[in-house]
Symmetry: C2
Subunit: 337 residues, 2 copies
């Protein structure tokens, strides 16, 4: 038998034990490796060191949570951009789908080139040809209709090499980095040269990034009431190009403060990296994903039309930017094996 | 004496009691009135009914948290806009401060009118005069410099009638509504015709709305490197006017999904209310703040240049929008007595 006071002590200890169990469970979770797809090389150490510096209360490097803003390029940084930007694949597919209502396209560039699969003729149509393609395939419908078109296309389209949906060709190490930053009080944003409305229908389910934390290029839209129903119509006019020097402008417009961490993979991310990391009074983190793994993904930098990386790579050491060598720094590339 | 099994049961009950205590403490907190500055009239009931409908899991009206987007106009909805928009007071003050470096303004409109306090001549300068004023006072500096100018001005400026900083002339019932929505999983955004960079320096401390959840009118900015330091320069060119049919466009650009709740106070909010509430498949909430309290604040609707309310008020009943009569529906107006 047990005395009443012994029992009280036991009961108190049980209650305290419950509280302690919660505390231990939380601590264990925090200690397990948050970046298992990263090899234990310099980039992983740089990430963890930076996050620990800015989140340690009382430290001179501490950054309060509302200022923990991290920005990520999308094409080539969060998902594969070779052999062609996925949004361009989408536009070419749309031309083929829409062609039955446009018999005149058989003789009209750049549509003729797309329908005949003549990539040389398409390239010859230059930037004007590209803008024509984008406006034809991305405008003239409501924003809701466009989101549906994108969602339905992504559900069916398959990458020709990996035979998988494009939304599965996202980088596992980057998914872990996004989650690790968010677990440490960061707000994560996508800042992409790609179309803002092309990314939003799937950014939350794939990356955990809600639509209002996606920054990208856009066309103009117009609001009006049609038969008592509010409509936002997509117009065939460029509104904003979120690339190169446009990225800091887009960041300012949407986020309204300078990020403290930026990750990109091309010269299109150079100004975003400069804006994030240079001339600042608090610690900053800049990172470049260098595509070096032709076997598991692709190897390219200077000599490509999609994600050209030259100047940013050259000045990375001067600016203290971490360069990720995909081949040696990433244990896994994709979520699937 | 107590048997070991009795003691085990007691210990278990103590532990369960601890868990129950947390649950009760949370429930009690949830039951205390979240809107104490609202009288128990129709608007308060409409707010609570809507929030309970969309947050009740399993109900056909349930809206998942990521889609719980609420948008608020600022001038006249969250803070006082009479006798003149605060941002215009700021611009006029800036002209006076800058005048010592611009002797030519003594003979040049609209600056002459501002320096002489001649509001009639200022009004005669029309929209072009207003744009000139805004560009002169809001452009030509970096975004950091502008944020500092705004912050320093707000710290010193006092409203002539209430003798208080403008950031204290915010509506207590609206602060409670913002907090109540956030406590129920809503993300709250400001969608204002005012300047986005004029609101961001103080939106988080005053409203609990972070800079990236502020949508507003803007001028263009340009990014470049100056002596190794990244700079965003504010240019004297209009970028976007976030008013009337511009509000749904701004909402789409920044938020990327239709809100389920919108609050405004003028015809400038009409299209935002339409975009939020009409032709939707889930429950929506629209609310108009009607300024009816000349004694505690101001009384105006049709006959004013600042926050004119006519058409939106007329069609509110047809659209099921809740109209707040400030005089009878608000127990308190401001946070101070």
């Amino acid at each position: 038998m047990i005395s009443a006071s012994e029992c009280l002590i036991f009961a108190r200890n049980t209650a305290l034990g419950l509280v302690a169990w919660f505390a231990i469970a939380t601590a264990v979770q925090a200690q397990s490796d948050p970046l298992p797809s990263w090899n234990d090389t310099a980039p992983k150490k740089a990430i963890v060191t930076f996050v620990e510096r800015v989140t340690k209360e009382g430290s001179p490097d501490f950054v309060p949570a509302p200022a923990r803003i991290a920005v990520f390029d999308n094409d080539g940084t969060l998902w594969t951009e070779h052999p062609m930007y996925t949004q361009l694949v989408f536009a070419l597919d749309r031309v083929k789908t829409m062609a039955k209502d446009h018999p005149e396209w058989k003789d009209k560039q750049p549509f003729k080139a797309v329908l005949e699969g003549d990539l040389k003729a398409l390239a010859a149509a230059g930037e004007k040809g590209l803008v024509d393609l984008i406006m034809t395939t991305h405008a003239g419908m409501t924003d809701d209709q466009f989101a549906t078109i994108v969602t339905e296309w992504l559900a069916k389209a398959r990458d020709p090499r990996f035979k998988r949906p494009y939304t599965e060709l996202v980088y596992q190490p980057m998914l872990e980095l996004l989650a690790y930053l968010r677990a440490n009080g960061f707000k994560t944003f996508i800042v992409s040269g790609g179309g803002i409305e092309f990314m939003r229908p799937w950014s939350e389910s794939v990356y955990g990034v809600p639509p209002d934390q996606v920054v990208g290029s856009s066309i103009k839209t117009e609001f009006f009431m049609r038969d008592g129903v509010p409509v936002l119509l997509r117009l065939p006019q460029v509104n904003f190009v979120d690339d190169k020097a446009g990225k800091p402008v887009g960041i300012n417009a949407h986020i309204g403060q300078r990020p403290i961490a930026a990750v990109g993979n091309s010269d299109g991310d150079l100004q975003m990296l400069q804006w994030t990391t240079l001339g600042a009074s608090t610690p900053r983190f800049g990172m470049i994903i260098h595509h070096t793994d032709a076997e598991r993904e692709y190897a390219y930098d200077r000599d490509t039309d999609f994600g050209r990386l030259d100047e940013a790579l050259a000045i990375a050491p001067i600016n203290g930017w971490t360069v990720v060598d995909m081949k040696s720094d990433w244990k896994e590339i994709f979520p699937h094996k």
